[in-house]
Point group: C2
């Protein structure tokens, strides 16, 4: 396989809330996303989901807490925990989650990306 340059991969797309797959290991995908605005509340019943911020500030609303993440910060949303990511300005982030993780978990919305593509 080839090495993966995160910034080069980020230069290949501009859509928001549309994660792109950049790597696969041990049944997990590594993804990149650009986000701005509000995601819907959702949860993943069987998958923990890692967010790593590359640029910007992401707020992850939980039902009882607000997590504010900046560049170089990680948050792992445990399986079953409802969350709603919000980005006032554009945020670039990396995700690490099982291959079977649905984009908006238990919720279908107009934001849901059914098939995520490799870049």
């Amino acid at each position: 396989m080839d090495k993966i340059n995160v910034l080069q991969k980020l230069s290949l797309f501009n859509e928001h809330w549309t994660p792109k797959i950049i790597g696969e290991l041990n049944g997990q995908y590594v993804k990149l996303a650009k986000v701005k605005g509000e995601m819907v509340w959702h949860k993943h019943d069987n998958e923990d989901e890692l967010f790593l911020i590359i640029k910007g500030e992401l707020k992850i609303h939980l039902r009882d807490e607000l997590i504010t993440l900046n560049e170089g910060e990680i948050y792992i949303v445990p399986k079953g925990v409802e969350h709603k990511p919000v980005a006032e300005e554009e945020v670039h982030l990396m995700l690490f989650e099982p291959k079977e993780t649905a984009h908006t978990g238990d919720v279908k919305s107009e934001m849901t990306v059914e098939v995520q593509e490799w870049i």
Copy 2:
């Protein structure tokens, strides 16, 4: 759980070739390491291993190829593939790998860390 600040976590240790665990999800660990010098040749028979470079330049020797990684670059060493990481100057990196991954895989060496600690 709390958020994880990668640079703050890196400030907590200085040992080389001694990965520290900073997160866990879906049976995988997220680890940080500082490395300088040469690791031993080894492989992980059942685990793919992701390297993400935070600072510096890491060379990953494979038996038939040399992968040179700089900041913001990722390489996934597939299971069963012999590799030898080498850092001429100090490198800071993140690892993603299954919890059961042994430090030096199929090889025991004086560099082997049997029990990796959380920070």
